[in-house]
Amino acid sequence: MPEIRNYTLNFGPQHPSAHGVLRLVLELDGETVVRSDPHIGLLHRGTEKLAEYKPYNQSIGYMDRLDYVSMMSNEHAYVMAIEKMLGLEVPERAQYIRVMFDEITRILNHLMWLGAHALDIGAMTVFLYAFREREDLMDCYEAVSGARMHATYYRPGGVYRDLPDTMAKYQSSKWHQGRDLDKLNETREGSLLDFIEAFTQRFPGYVDEYETLLTDNRIWKQRTVDIAIVSPERALQLGFTGPMLRGSGIAWDLRKKQPYEVYDKLDFDIPVGKTGDSYDRYLVRVAEMRESNKIIKQCVEWLKNNPGPVIAADHKVTPPSREDAKTNMEALIHHFKLFTEGFILPAGEAYSAVEHPKGEFGIYMVSDGANKPYRLKVRAPGFPHLAALDEMAKGHMIADVVTIIGTQDIVFGEIDR
């Protein structure tokens, strides 16, 4: 009698659907997964430790690089922790801008997720459709910060600068000229807010397009319905947050439960799932994109009518204007102090969390009264999700493991930190 052994398969880190650097050791019985063992640490950059060696305002850029598909949301939690410890008041316009960009980020993240998830399951067209819209949103990032991804736009006390009055336009090239070019630049003639408004108007149509390809597609349903069911109780026990928790039917959303910035003034709903399978999580995220679109619309409306400062005037924390620094001695000193040694936070600790596109993204900060954090802990939403992978994948097939990785919306930047 020959000995029957399970088939051990090394899934990743160089695997097209490993979403970066996930390494899974799969134990297979035929094609059925008996055990899946996620290995992490291949993208570990020591963000938390690095932050301990930098003045507070210099670590914002590291936050972008945590979850690198929802950059500004990461910054948000970080600057909010600093503001909490300083007791710093953020101007209302800055709060609206932050909320608007949080939601733009949410759409960016969900588009990336949708595209990658569909591509993992084999529908590749959705991926390219999603990237068409991402391009426009990336341009919004670029318009406010100069960078398409790692923006460093949120600063303690507000945002780096006000929204620009012009949008960058496409230049004439061998591939785009004449009427083609005019069509590309059609919505770019006005300010950034006009551009975003035009986007919010056409975006629901785009979401319909994705849904046409997926929602009622038999194969899509066969691949996602009843895959990786997580019961509401179990989702809570496993520490799920965000769409993973809402997909199981628990209406938990920090934007509603502990509103930060101006979320309490905005009208939006929280979509929840019913059975807690991959299909529900898909529906929840798609519905979230529509809700985010609604929020952006309201923010654009408000921002158009309410000009004002976008960063606090406390120059111990926020940089003075360039003109002031050239003429005013005190402003020059502020500028010098701020950009050499940063600012000092009172001794104490703070936890601030935002409803990140993937769940609850929290920053726990301990200060000993220096210009650097004594300890910075990042609560990444993806980590508990990945920890549940074994439980979710048990009894499913290899192809479903790919679906589960997709439905968890894993990004390794935040898991490995």
């Binding site: 529908a123 459709y129 597609n217 194969i219 691949r223």
Partner: protein
Amino acid sequence: MFNALQGWLSIFLWDWLAILMTLVLQVVIVVLPIMIAVAFLTLAERKVIGFMQVRMGPNRVGPNGILQPFADALKLIMKEFVRPQQSNLYLFIIAPVLALAPVVAAWAVIPFGEGAVVSDINVGVMYVLAVSSIVVYGVIIAGWASNSKYAFLGALRASAQKVSYEIAMGFALVTVLMVAGSMNLTEIVHGQQGGFWNWYWIPLLPMLAVYFISGLAETNRTPFDVVEGEAEIVAGFHVEYSSMGFGVFMLAEYAMMVLISFMTAIMFLGGWYSPFENIPVLDPLTAWIPGFIWLFLKVAFLLFLFLWFRATFPRYRYDQLMRLGWKVLIPLTIVWVFVVGVMHYFSIGPWFN
């Protein structure tokens, strides 16, 4: 024409040499255009899918990217042939050959027009079915010889999938044989003369669907590409192949697509006959179009379907694919065999007279 050539050659040469030379010429005349068609099918695929995905597709090599296939081929030829250390060299090399050779061999019986066929044998359908089923050995051997776990999984999936879908495919062909009363492909086309309502797709509509779906599965195209399963088992059986080894697998896959399209066109869509036969105005207007143009148009349309499906559908899971094959397609074909028998008994329509 070839008989005349052979007769003329045998004046100067030995008979066997004359026959051999004529045969080789015939083979070249068939295979060369197919290989060129395959090359441009890869370009067409990228262009069509590019169009569907609001992007441009290849447009750098030559005007509008028209030379891209040759650039690709050149790149593949120039690349190093990497062989996994623990692999079985002999099998590793024979596998791509086994994948390509049957597909090319199957073309021997495909008629491109009235009498335009290399070998007009009476068991044409059986021959195509038999020869094209050898392809699966290439895939299995490739997966096994690579000594890679992913390739092995791909090979296992391939063997199960191809064998199952061949049954559905075979039964679909049985219905065609029942209608046509012949296994000779030329005869099958002859049976469909007289306008598009005389073609076999009307009495055999479900079989057309079954045959084409099985064809998708046989060629490992989306939504049945679990054998390659880009996102799951990376590239399946040919994950370890590089350079021309990989290129030959690609050639085989696309040549198989063209073959399936030709078979569908010949057996269900009237082969080289014009769809406007016996239609008052259109028939005289289109009478000048030669038969093979119609055949190529039909094939082009079917190939377009292959590409369209690839751009639209997600991938089936392996067990769902098997379920579709065994629990839907095969019962359907068996039922339709009886339906065709009943239709035959009552001599229905223009097809069973």
